[in-house]
Structure formats: C-alpha cells, structure tokens
Amino acid sequence: MISLDLLFEAVLFGILLGCFYAAVSLGLSVAFGLLDVPYVAHPALLILGSYFTFLLSKTGIDPIICGLLLMPVFYVIGIALYRFYYETFERRSSDTGVRGLAFFFGIAFIIEVCLILVFGVDQRTVSATYIGSSLEIGEYRFPYRMLVAFGIAIFLTTLLTLYFSKTFNGRAIKAVGQDEGALRLMGANPVKIKQLAFGIATAVNALAGAMLIIVGPVEPAMDRIYIGRTFCVVVLAGLGSMSGTLVAGLILGIAESIVMMTLGASWAPAVSFGLLLLMLGIRPQGLFGR
C-alpha cells in the first residue's frame, strides 16, 4: 500500500513538523513545566502572536522580523499576566486549582472570540519570499517555510537551554520549580524569578506565533487543536526539560506525519491528543521526567 520511500519522506517531513511543534511548545514547557502554572491560555497567546505578526507584516516587514519585534511586547504581556495571576490566586493561595484553570481558560476564550470579532473566522496568511516555494533535493521537495520553522525551533531551543544552564537567573528559574526555599537561600526572590520566567515563556510565544503563520494560515479557533499539541509535547518531554521538549516534538511530528500518510489526514487531530492521553495513563512523569 504505502511505499518505503514515501514513508521515508513522511519521516523527513515529520522531523521538520516536529521541530515546529517543539518550538510552539517551548513557552508552555517553561510556564507549566517549570513554574507549574496551569497556563492553558498558552495556545491562545500563540495564535495572538500570529495575528500580530499578520498585522505587522502588512507594513512589508518580514514575518520573522515581526516575530522578533513582538518578543518584547509579549515579554511585558507575560509579566503582567503572571503578576495578575500571582496577586489574585497564588498569593491568596485561593485554590489555584479550579480558579487558576478557569481564569486561564476564560482568558484563552476571550482572546479567541476577540480575534473572531476583529478578524472574522477566515484564515489569515502572510507572504514572504520563502513561502510557497520549496528546496529540491533529488526526489524530495522541502517547503522553505518548514525549513525556516526548523531553523527557528533549533535556535530557540539552544537559546533557552543555554540560558537555563549558564546564567544565574536561568538556573534560578530551574530551581524555583523544585524548591522555593532553596531559592530564597540563594538570595533570589521567587516571585521575581517566576515573573521573569513567565515573561520569557510568553516572549518565546511571539516568535513561535510568527513561525506558526509562516508555516500555514491561522484562524482564531486554532488554539484549540494546539492545546493538544503543546501539552502533548510538554507532558511527553517530562515537565520542564528543554531538550526533552525538542525530542518530544519530533516524536509527535513524525507520528502525525506518518498517520497522515497511512491512515489519512482525517485522523491527524487525534494523534497528539491520543499520545497525550496515553502518556498521562502510563507515564505521567514524561519520557525524560524524574
């Protein structure tokens, strides 16, 4: 039925797709994986990033640049969001469980509906020289947009990995997840650190959003499917591991790509969610989790 080289092609494309999934999940991997904030609004902010990129790129700026330009804006949004979350829930420790979740779910929902009100339900696209054409290597053709995504993914992952291992704040962020007390001993204020981390997580989302709209058209309700993809990757990776996130992304990407070619695309949405359920059922601590 399905030829080997087609399968091989599926895997190749799956790798590109996988890096892309990893990149869109990095922010969540920090916010949820490291800080343990029930950040279900992450995919919504991802889409928001795409739409901002869409607006900016109308001025003729290249979408990637747009993404980079948006990062500081999103950094601030992230800080504000965490501040608010901290003041209203974490500090009062009024069960962050239900209210925190409901809060972020509500935020995600509001973002989505507002996008619909402003842009309508039609898909939006950006144009750039590297969109719509592809790199030919012998039999195979690789869309440049996917290669771009691949590049961004690798860039972001290495950047964050380095940041978390090399810098003081980076290590502090890694620590805050495990033990706030120890962090206080290190002479760092956990809330400040978390705030910083959350800012970074959201800033990363801006570039990821730009990448999302480069890879394909976006529409407001798209965050829903990405709840599955991002959380699947983060859980698969084991909370808070950046390199793990990349690997997990690859697993998801290849799995989806192969399913699309064999079972057919109509089963694609179930892949990420299915994988997620499976993980939660058999190994919630993730592949690389403690």
Binding site: P38, F103, G106, I116, P269, L276
Partner: protein, 310 residues
C-alpha cells in the same frame, strides 16, 4: 422534606406549562435553558465539590447524543431508553478518564478531558453509520404521550432531568460523599489522612457528573431531528458549563442553577436580539470577572451583602 415538596411543585408546574396553550417558542428556549441547568449542575458535582475542572463537557454531551442516535437508528429505541443509554455510556467515559488521570494533579485531568473531545470528534467524523461529517437527519416518531408537540414533550423531559440532577447534586452535597469531596478540594493529603478514600470518591463524582452530562445530551438529536459533529462537539459548551457554576457559586447546589438560569436566559435573549460572537463573549468575560473579583460567585456576593446588612 421541604425541598422534595418544592421539587414536586416545580415538576407539576413544568407539566402544566407544557400542557397549557401557550406560545411554542417558550418550549424551544426553555429546553435549552433547562439543558444548561443539567450541564452546570453536573459539572459542579466534580468541579465545584471536588475541584477537578472538566473542560471536556462537549465530549460527554456528544456521547449521550450519539448513543441516542445509534440506539434510535439501530433498534428505534424510545426516548427514555436513548437517555438512559446515553447516561450510562457517558458515565463510563467519565469513569475511564477518571481512572486514567484522577490520580494526577487537577490540570492533567482537565487537559485529558480536552483530549477526549478531539479524539471522539475525530472518531465520529470518520464514522459513517452516524452520518460522519455530513451529519444525519432523523425523523421523529409521532408518539407524543399526552403532549401536543414533540418539543413540548422534550421540554417536559428536560425539566424532569433538570429537577432530577439538581436533586442528585443536593443529595451528594449533604452526604458523606459531599463532605469527602469538599475535603479533597481543600486538601487531598489531609483528606486521605482523615480516612477519606479520595480516589474512590473522585471516581464516583466523575462518573455521576459524566453520566448527567450524557443525559443532558441524549435528547439533542430528537430536539434538532438532526445531528452533526461540529455543533455537537462545540467547545462553547465547556465555557458555559464551567462558567455558570463559577458565576452562580460552586459551594452550594443552588449556585449552578442560578448561574445557568441567568446566563442561559441571557444567551437566549442575545441570540434573538443583538446576536453575534458577543453572545459567547458574555460568558467568557463574566467568568473571568467572577473568578477574579467574586471567587464565591453570586452566592458569595449574597452572603457578603447579608453580613454587611446585619
């Protein structure tokens, strides 16, 4: 005892109304509102009492609805059987999801419920027997019992279901189960160490809650005489079913009822007036506002007001 009398009176009231010679529109709008009463109440049994947030409400509704469709199409089962069947399967779904994730922290359960929505939707999309993506038209049987129109009957059925599920929620609240669930919400460890079999009661709550949502969904195909995945698996159900209890107040069984009656009515009015996405935005915004400003919902506000007026 007082409650059961009120419940009975309400039941008679609904029966009378659906037999009375009044404007048919009431029953179409009323059906939807009462359906949300069931959904909100069901959600609150797990989300409000135990603090486990279910985002996957449409999955349970859909299981109810599509079970009904299958039962109707295969053995042309009567409405009652459809509802019971839908309830049972949705309950089983709740149990399965629970077994899979209720050992874990709340957010994993929540994400899992979202996953169930998409997986089931994909399955239904690829399942031709129930119409797949194209949907399925159903011709209602003409057994109207004592009612003039099928909708009047459905309205009364939904009223019964609403009163039933509220009674269940109320019973749970006052029972050991309710006490245990509250303990779980406040501190799972302390609950365990006070002898509460946390996992067991969470599973019970999850199953009951799921079953009630299924029951709420089961009459949908007959109400629309048509079923189609995109509307059935619409995540807007989640935001409503979660928003209504939180806005009404999750601590007491009356909370979800208030929230549902209020918001569902607003939604019905909005649909036939200024209607557009604002309709769903209302719930979203109110939800966030309440979560932030009035964590204990309308009930909490009333309590505060009473205390201050004393």
């Amino acid at each position: 005892m007082k409650y059961s009398i009120y419940a009975f009176i309400a039941l008679l009231g609904f029966l009378g109304l659906s037999l009375m010679n009044v404007n048919e529109y009431i029953f179409f709008a009323g059906f939807v509102i009462l359906q949300f009463v069931v959904l909100a109440t069901a959600w609150n049994i797990l989300g409000g009492y135990a603090g486990y947030v279910n985002f996957g409400v449409p999955a349970f509704i859909a299981v109810g609805a599509y079970t009904a469709v299958v039962l109707f199409k295969s053995i042309s089962a009567p409405l009652v059987v459809q509802i019971i069947g839908g309830g049972i399967l949705a309950g089983l779904l709740g149990l399965t999801v629970g077994l899979l994730t209720l050992k874990l922290r709340g957010i994993f359960f929540s994400i899992a419920t979202v996953a169930v929505v998409f997986i089931l939707e994909t399955v239904v999309m690829n399942w031709r027997y129930v119409g797949g993506a194209t949907g399925l038209q159903l011709t209602r049987p003409q057994d109207l019992w004592i009612f003039d129109t099928y909708t009047r009957m459905l309205f009364f059925v939904m009223a019964v279901l609403a009163i039933g599920s509220v009674s269940i929620a109320r019973y749970i609240q006052d029972s050991f189960l309710g006490r245990g669930l509250r303990a779980v919400r406040d501190s799972e460890e302390a609950a365990e160490c006070s002898g509460v079999p946390t996992l067991k009661i969470k599973l019970i709550a999850c199953t009951i809650s799921g079953a009630l949502m299924g029951i709420a969904g089961a009459p949908m195909p007959m109400y629309l005489s048509y079923i189609e995945p995109t509307a059935t698996f619409n995540l807007n159900y989640s935001i409503s079913a979660l928003g209504m209890p939180i806005i009404g107040g999750t601590s007491h069984w009356i909370g979800p009822v208030i929230g549902a009656l209020l918001l569902a009515t607003i939604q019905q009015v909005v649909t036939v007036t200024v209607s557009n996405e604002l309709n769903v935005l209302v719930v979203g915004v109110l939800l966030v506002l309440f979560v932030v400003l009035a964590p204990d919902g309308i009930l909490g506000l009333i309590k505060k007001w009473k205390q201050s007026s004393k």
